[in-house]
């Protein structure tokens, strides 16, 4: 029997090898996947035991802090309420985490590398999050939210919401990101309120500047102008015949109000936002050149912003299946911010602000960022805004030429009613027609100031109003934000 007993022991050892193998699987090999399982509350509960860092605006307003809730657990509060609900978001155990609370979570929760956490364990110190300062300016944010709300309430037929984004062209710092309607992040802890916010048709939880894309209308002509001049195929003096009825992709195109302009140069065409001129430019440049310049501006990809991927949407021509397309679309109409079945141009307000910023910064697009500075609980600075170039969109010369064109718009053209205390304005209006019969428009404004040494680039838009124009509705919102930033 002894031989069998030895074999039996061999079998028992084999069984135990399975135990070791499976323990390794859960404890080490698949541990990360298990931590990501949705019903695994451990990481969330663990994080509630960490004192999350504070979030402060660039001008020193406290946006988020953690308070003791008993039992060694902390809970988040947002003293500014709805002001920064978008884009800062929230972080609660029951509803999860979105916005900057999510994208900067590693800093805020004190996530460290393995080595540092072993040192911590040995020295017995508890994990604490870093305090972060955002690039966002609370004063200007307040102005932006108020301006959007009053534009929505005072403009005839205004519905839905609106967005404002303001960037520092030379650093990529996001100074303002406003989305209306918003929500109070303190309220989402309540399950009923959260459900109501989620299902609300006005979509208050949506961070419109990064999550929503719209026809950008004539603001797109800035991109087309850059492509035309920078490719060397056009100069500001290039003339084209620009009457209404010019056939684009075989279909006649009309100018705003059915106006005929005769033969005009590029300056006149941008000042008066002449559709037929710019659509012909688009056709002459061709799809490849337009796509190349759009890509340089950051279209066709999520903004390179420190923000959650699932809260950003790429801009560009979308076909009727909802896919981004790089060919086969009506390039003439895309060049004026429109399109068709094969490719409808849709842009996020954040993207259009980047367009203005790239022109303002001598043609160099800086990576946009929210993070001004982070410091650990002992006050040591552990991160700071380090301006980083995303792409060289155009030459210095092109940038100067386009700036001049945009100054023309602000001084003599569709934006001539607008001015800012920052200095000389360079801008472009847009009025996307979303329902011609009912006169429903989507007003836009992008621009920067002062033109000779740009400090702020901005994009402002409202989702819908009746018979309104970009220069009348979106422009003033942008001016108020610029003025507010000029003061700070």
């Amino acid at each position: 029997m002894n031989k069998q007993i030895v074999r039996l022991y061999g079998f028992v050892l084999l069984l135990f090898v399975f135990l070791v193998a499976f323990t390794s699987r859960w404890a080490v090999l698949e541990a990360d996947e298990l931590e990501d399982e949705t019903d695994n509350r451990r990481p969330l509960i663990e994080e509630q035991r960490i004192e999350r860092g504070t979030i402060t605006s660039a001008d020193g307003t406290l946006i988020a802090e953690s308070e003791r809730a008993g039992g060694g657990v902390f809970v988040r509060t947002y003293p500014t309420g709805a002001l920064f609900g978008n884009p800062v978001g929230y972080s609660f155990v029951d509803v999860g985490r979105i916005g900057i609370e999510s994208s900067e979570n590693d800093l805020l929760s004190g996530e460290q590398n393995e080595f540092a956490s072993i040192i911590d364990q040995l020295s017995g110190s508890t994990r604490e999050g870093a305090d972060i300062t955002l690039t966002l300016d609370a004063g200007a944010q307040r102005v932006a939210v108020d301006a959007l709300q009053s534009a929505l309430s005072s403009t005839p037929g205004a519905e839905g919401g609106g967005s404002v984004v303001a960037l520092e062209p030379d650093t990529g710092a996001v100074k303002v990101m406003a989305s209306v309607p918003g929500y109070d992040p303190n309220a989402v802890q309540d399950e009923a309120t959260f459900q109501q916010l989620r299902t609300d048709e006005a979509a208050p939880l949506l961070n419109r500047p990064t999550q929503s894309t719209y026809q950008p209308g004539s603001t797109m002509k800035v991109v087309t102008a850059v492509a035309a001049l920078d490719s060397g195929e056009f100069t500001p003096d290039t003339t084209l015949e620009a009457n209404s009825g010019v056939e684009i992709s075989g279909v006649p195109l009309a100018n705003s109000g059915g106006q005929d302009f005769g033969t005009i140069d590029m300056t006149t065409a941008l000042t008066n936002s002449v559709n037929t001129y710019w659509a012909q430019v688009g056709e002459e440049l061709g799809t490849d050149t337009m796509v190349e310049y759009m890509e340089r501006f950051g279209f066709y990809a999520d903004p390179e912003l420190d923000y959650p991927d699932n809260q950003m949407r790429a801009s560009g021509p979308y076909n009727s299946d909802g896919r981004l397309v790089t060919e086969g679309f009506d390039v003439g109409r895309v060049a004026i911010g429109q399109g068709g079945e094969e490719g409808q141009l849709l842009s996020a307000p954040m993207q259009m602000a980047e367009v203005a910023a790239a022109v303002a910064n001598g043609g160099k697009l800086m990576k946009p960022t929210f993070l001004q500075e982070a410091s650990d609980p002992d006050g040591r600075q552990i991160a700071e805004l380090d301006p980083d170039e995303q792409s060289e969109v155009m030459s210095d010369e092109t940038s100067a030429q386009v700036t001049e064109l945009m100054v023309g718009v602000a001084n003599d053209g569709t934006a001539s009613g607008l001015s800012t205390s920052l200095g000389q304005l360079a801008g472009k209006t847009g009025t996307a027609e979303i329902n011609v019969e009912e006169g429903l428009n989507r007003p836009w404004f992008i621009g920067f100031a002062p033109a000779e040494d740009p400090q702020i680039a901005v994009a402002a838009m409202l989702e819908q109003c009746t018979g309104c124009f970009g220069g009348e509705v979106a422009g003033p919102v942008a001016m108020q934000v610029m003025d507010a930033l000029a003061g700070s």
Binding site: M1, N2, K3, Q4, I5, V6, R7, L8, Y9, V12, L13, L15, F16, F18, L19, V20, F22, T23, S24, R25, W26, A27, V28, E30, A31, D32, L34, E35, E37, D39, N40, R41, R42, I45, E46, Q48, R49, A69, G70, G71, G72, V73, V75, V93, Q121
Partner: protein, 461 residues
């Protein structure tokens, strides 16, 4: 060095383990646990020394390592229980005293354990009766869908723990007597060895008992354990792998049949095992889901999540998340932690291994599994050295069922097999388990002492 001196030396690491473990837990949680409970660590060591002295007198030739290995398991169990809740450790230390009593009684009254052979049918019937007891109205109680315990007032007792020893004694004796018949009088038909039908009878009874356990007790774990030990003994006694395969096939067929047609519990366990991360693995109705039922899938998930915290070296004693903090702790938790308010249900019984993985890591867990493997080694060595068939089979059976029990519960917690509620020998909190395993250890030491005792011919082993 004599066997008993080696045993004494082997107890030194156990003493260090308990001391270091208690000190670590105490240092970690000194704000919530009292220093008075520290003495229970010393109390446990005193029991170990007392057992050792008793063995010196009663079984001087018995295996030197079995007892220290079991004591090491118990020490780990005690430290982890102390970490979970100090009162659990205090109770467990007290239970060890009871276990020591059973241990001593077994050794004193069963010095000639061959006497057990004479009562084998009585023992078999008694064991089956014990197994059925949890279904008796009045004293039986249902836990998680399985009938595992008998309640006597405040005391709860799991008869399967004791019954396993009785079943092994019966099988060892029966197979020892009949093994000649099984291996010699067999006919070969179409390459298969078929034993005479009449000897199949009692074995069919064993198979039937395993099936009855599945259906009436709904305890897949014990059923697996018992039947596994039976197959192990059948193999060792007859050296016929074909019997084992036939037996295994019969078990699987029976289990599949009863699992799919019988009451839902066993089928649920299997569904949970195969579809652990499905949203609704055991097809509960909308209403059941709303009522918060999950047919137990939540606990195995929590077990895996707990282990995921461990990594290679673990979070350290007392460092992993177990008791829900502050606002997460349920308002209605009358029994108190760890009976409710623990993120991992049953951290002190079924899922103690997951806690060990989380806090001592993969290495700690492997050390624990190695202890079981070493006990297996000493147990099977005892069987090899034993001088007569009954002793060999008895030692084999006891060791096999002990190792299988460890496999069934650790395998359940780590999802190697469907999760079933058996205790982790010497580690889990629970009186019946400790007492039964102390008796099992006593029997193994008796066989060992008998095997190693110098004989009249002077053949010292």
């Amino acid at each position: 060095m004599s066997a008993r001196n080696r045993e004494l030396f082997a107890l030194i690491p156990v003493a260090l383990l308990v001391t270091a473990g208690f000190a670590a837990v105490f240092a970690e949680g000194s704000d919530v646990i009292t220093d008075a409970s520290l003495i229970y660590g010393g109390y446990f060591l005193a029991i170990c020394v007392a057992t050792h002295i008793f063995l010196r007198v009663a079984l001087p030739h018995a295996d030197a390592y079995l007892f220290p290995l079991c004591a090491a398991l118990a020490a780990i169990g005690l430290v982890v229980l102390y970490r979970i809740d100090e009162t659990l450790a205090v109770e467990q230390a007290t239970v060890f005293l009871l276990g020591l009593g059973a241990f001593a009684a077994t050794i004193v009254f069963l010095r000639d354990y061959h006497a057990l052979e004479r009562y084998r049918y009585l023992i078999a019937v008694g064991s089956l009766a014990l197994l059925m007891a949890p279904r008796l109205p009045g004293i039986g109680s249902q836990v998680n869908g399985a009938y595992l315990a008998v309640d006597f007032g405040p005391l709860s007792f799991q008869p399967a723990e004791i019954a396993k020893i009785g079943v092994v004694i019966f099988l060892a004796s029966y197979l020892n007597e009949k093994r000649e018949l099984f291996s010699v009088a067999a006919r070969r038909i179409a390459g298969l060895t078929i034993p005479p039908l009449k000897h199949f009878g009692p074995l069919l009874v064993v198979w039937g008992a395993a099936m009855v356990m599945l259906v009436f007790i709904r305890d897949l774990g014990s059923s697996l354990m018992f039947f596994g030990a039976f197959l192990a003994l059948l193999y060792v006694a007859t050296n016929r792998l074909s019997y084992v395969l036939a037996g295994l096939a019969m078990f699987l067929v029976g289990a599949t049949f009863f699992a799919s047609s019988g009451p839902g519990h066993v089928q649920d366990r299997i569904d949970i095992w195969t579809n652990t991360f499905d949203e609704n693995p055991c097809d509960l109705t909308e209403r059941q889901l709303d009522a918060g039922q999950d047919c137990g899938v939540g606990q195995i998930r929590q077990s895996l999540y707990t282990q995921a915290e461990g990594g290679l070296f673990g979070e350290g004693l007392g460092q992993s998340l177990l008791k829900l903090p502050g606002p997460f702790f349920p308002d209605s938790c009358e029994e108190g932690f760890p009976f409710c308010g623990s993120i991992l249900p049953e951290p002190h019984t079924d899922f103690i291994f997951a806690v060990i993985v989380a806090e001592l890591g993969l290495f700690g867990a492997c050390g624990l599994i190695a202890l079981y493997a070493l006990i297996g080694l000493r147990g099977f060595k005892t069987a090899v050295m034993a001088r007569d068939g009954f002793s060999k089979l008895l030692a084999t059976g006891l060791t096999a069922i002990f190792c299988l029990q460890a496999f069934v519960i650790i395998g359940g917690v780590t999802k190697v097999i469907p999760l079933t509620g058996v205790t982790m020998p010497f580690v889990s909190y629970g009186g019946s388990s400790i007492v039964a395993n102390m008796i099992l250890l006593a029997l193994l030491l008796l066989v060992s002492d008998n095997a190693r005792r110098p004989t009249g011919e002077g053949a010292a082993l």
